[in-house]
């Protein structure tokens, strides 16, 4: 059992030691490739540097630093990501999908579901975050800050 736990921990350490620098270098390589496709401007218009020069400089710096990362003496065995984080992330996906119906329906549903998934069971509290608080925020921003929200099932009722 202890061996299994140790191997999980060393697996986690390997993720931060090798996989993360690897992913960063891959990201930078892709971004660098994109910079080579930027338009180049004539010498007279370039004002000191070409548009691709500065991003390329930063990307090279990032690649260089990523290469140093595995040799740093700060590798940690991080605890596993708790299920509640994955649930919260999944709810964010639901939020994104629901925004196609209505921004405030999405916000209310997300708030209620997040609260419930984090252990809230009191009806009053759930109503507060699902219904009352989103309504308050909507009218605060609409009437006081004059923000016009995207049209949807609910907001159409107000905007007509």
């Amino acid at each position: 059992m202890a061996n299994q736990s140790n191997s999980i921990k060393s697996g986690s350490a390997n993720v931060s030691r090798w996989v993360i620098p690897g992913l960063i270098i891959l990201f930078c390589a892709i971004a660098f490739n994109l910079t080579t496709q930027f338009d180049r401007v004539p010498e007279i218009l370039k004002r000191g540097i070409q548009p691709s020069d500065f991003p390329q400089l930063i990307l090279l710096l990032l690649i260089g630093l990523a290469c140093l990362l595995p040799f740093e003496n700060t590798q940690h065995n991080r605890p596993a990501v708790p299920p509640s984080v994955f649930i919260s992330l999944a709810l964010m996906v639901v939020f994104v999908l629901l925004t196609h119906l209505d921004f405030f329906i999405a916000l209310g549903c997300f708030s209620g579901m997040l609260s419930f998934s984090w252990g809230e069971r009191r009806l009053g509290a759930l109503l507060l975050v699902t219904l009352f608080f989103p309504t308050f925020v909507f009218f605060l921003f609409d009437l006081v800050f004059e923000v016009r929200f995207p049209r949807g099932l609910l907001t159409n009722l107000w905007y007509g």
């Binding site: 930027f38 338009d39 000191g48 991003p55 919260s88 984090w118 608080f133």
Partner: protein, 478 residues
């Protein structure tokens, strides 16, 4: 009207600082969209007020529930909570309020004196000097990461890279826009700030749901006794000086100031053995330092446009959103604006003394708000705030994406503060480099031949090498 806003912002700031998980930086980031419709002077006065008040209020939760409301109050826990356990929570909070007020006022007076002087000196800066100064500002990120200097610099460089997204204003060439019209103006500061400070913290809190906090009841706040003042006045003054100086250094904020202030209070104390067990000097040293760092941090922010702390970086973003560009010219062209900031900071330091003393009992109750109610509300504010700025859904998606990126960065030891500062300074860095290249006939190495530029570049090398050298010295010593 402005006075009323400052009073409301003080109450809001204390509430933000007292809520575990929220701090001055994410509080200012979340409330930034509320200021969009305000006049620039009112908006920035509100943001700086929240900054000062939230920094102070971190002490309330530090003392009462042994959980610093802000990271700058972490050292206050060491002595505040033991005092509270002994039934002296009121005395501890009283000392926190007094030392915070004194530290805050001293630092604002220094800000009033130093910022115009620094701005005057900065008039002599040409693009190469500004470029070298910005590089120095970014190099200071090496020391703010919790885990690794390299990761901190990488986070800053990632922020600088993000600043290149959009149309290059000098050449009108599109960069990293992927044909999306919404990205042609670049990635907005506000949605990124909301993402990395608000949404990322929500995900972090999701992983800490099981933590139970013991809360100590507060009967009454009391002003420190004469004996307390006699014991702590030197520590308060020393920490105020330390905090102001640390605040002036680019990127270094209240957290580092409070640590140094606390350590120095212990080093000079006649009773160092009491530290960690409920020393009133410990609270004074920590709180005077973290509040004085707020005024110090505004010196480079206003005079040079280089943020002096993570929260100052968000305030800098707020200034830019309102069309203002901090720097030497602001002191001559918008002096009313600058003095409004000075006076609002001075006022808030007096206000939170009274609110802190007489309202701490009420604000302490904020700690009772369950996470299951608080964080859904924070999410709602974050999303509406991200949308409200440009009334564009792309900003909502950017906030969400950077929320996830910020969470992953924090999990693997990368600093989200560095990312935010890099994003803010990135545009200026590229612009100054381009101008320097034109000025120096594309011979970039000539930047190092100018005395002031060389001075900043030497400081940069020291800032980058410092953490490694310190680690080496420590390992040799041990």
């Amino acid at each position: 009207m402005l006075l009323l806003l400052i009073v409301l912002a003080t109450l809001g700031g204390i509430l933000v600082g007292a809520l575990p998980g929220l701090n001055a930086t994410n509080g200012v980031a979340l409330l930034l969209p509320f200021t969009i419709t305000m006049e620039p002077i009112a908006a920035i006065a509100v943001l700086t007020t929240i900054y000062c008040a939230a920094t102070f209020a971190g002490a309330i939760t530090a003392i009462l529930i042994n959980t610093p409301g802000t990271s700058a109050s972490a050292t206050t826990c060491l002595d505040g909570y033991p005092l509270a356990q002994r039934g002296e929570a009121g005395r501890a909070l009283g000392m926190a309020a007094v030392s915070s007020t004194i530290g805050g006022i001293i630092s604002v007076l220094c800000l009033m004196a130093a910022a115009p002087l620094l701005a005057g000196a900065a008039y002599k800066f040409a693009p190469p000097e500004y470029f070298a100064l910005t590089v120095f500002g970014l190099s200071m990120l090496a020391s703010i990461g919790e885990e690794s200097s390299i990761k901190s610099i990488m986070s800053g460089a990632f922020g600088v890279l993000l600043a290149t997204v959009g149309i290059d204003l000098l050449t009108t060439v599109e960069r990293f826009t992927f044909g999306m019209n919404e990205l042609t103006e670049g990635i907005g500061f506000v949605p990124v700030m909301i993402g990395v400070f608000g949404i990322a913290e929500l995900l972090t809190q999701a992983g800490q749901l099981g933590i139970v906090r013991e809360r100590i009841t507060l009967r009454a706040i009391q002003l420190p006794s004469k004996a307390d003042y006699q014991k702590t006045w030197k520590a308060i003054l020393r920490s105020s000086g330390i905090g102001t100086f640390i605040g002036i250094l680019p990127a270094e904020g209240a957290t580092i100031a409070s640590m140094i202030g606390y350590n120095e209070a212990k080093r000079w104390s006649k009773t160092p053995e009491e530290f960690g067990k409920g020393s009133i000097e410990g609270i004074a040293g920590s709180e005077a330092a973290n509040n004085s760092a707020t005024g110090g941090a505004m010196v480079p922010t206003l005079a040079l446009g280089i943020p002096g702390s993570p929260t100052a970086a968000v305030i800098l973003a707020g200034l830019m959103v309102h069309g203002l560009r901090p720097g030497p010219t602001m002191f001559t062209e918008q002096s009313t604006f600058v003095f409004a900031i000075f006076w609002s900071m001075l006022l808030v330091n007096v206000l939170f003394f009274f609110v802190g003393l007489y309202g701490a009992r009420i604000f302490a109750r904020a700690t009772l708000i369950p996470l299951t109610i608080l964080w859904p509300m924070v999410f709602l504010f974050s999303m509406v705030g991200a949308y409200a700025l440009d009334q564009s859904m792309i900003d909502v998606w950017i906030a969400l994406i950077f929320g996830v990126i910020g969470y992953l960065m924090k999990r693997y030891g990368f600093s989200v503060v560095s990312l935010a500062i890099g994003l803010i300074l990135g545009g200026m860095l590229e612009k100054r480099l381009g101008q320097s290249m034109v000025m120096l006939d594309e011979q970039w190495w000539l930047i190092a031949t100018r005395p002031l530029s060389l001075f900043f570049l030497v400081l940069t090398v020291l800032a980058l090498a410092g953490p490694f050298l310190l680690r080496k010295i420590k390992s040799i010593k041990s």
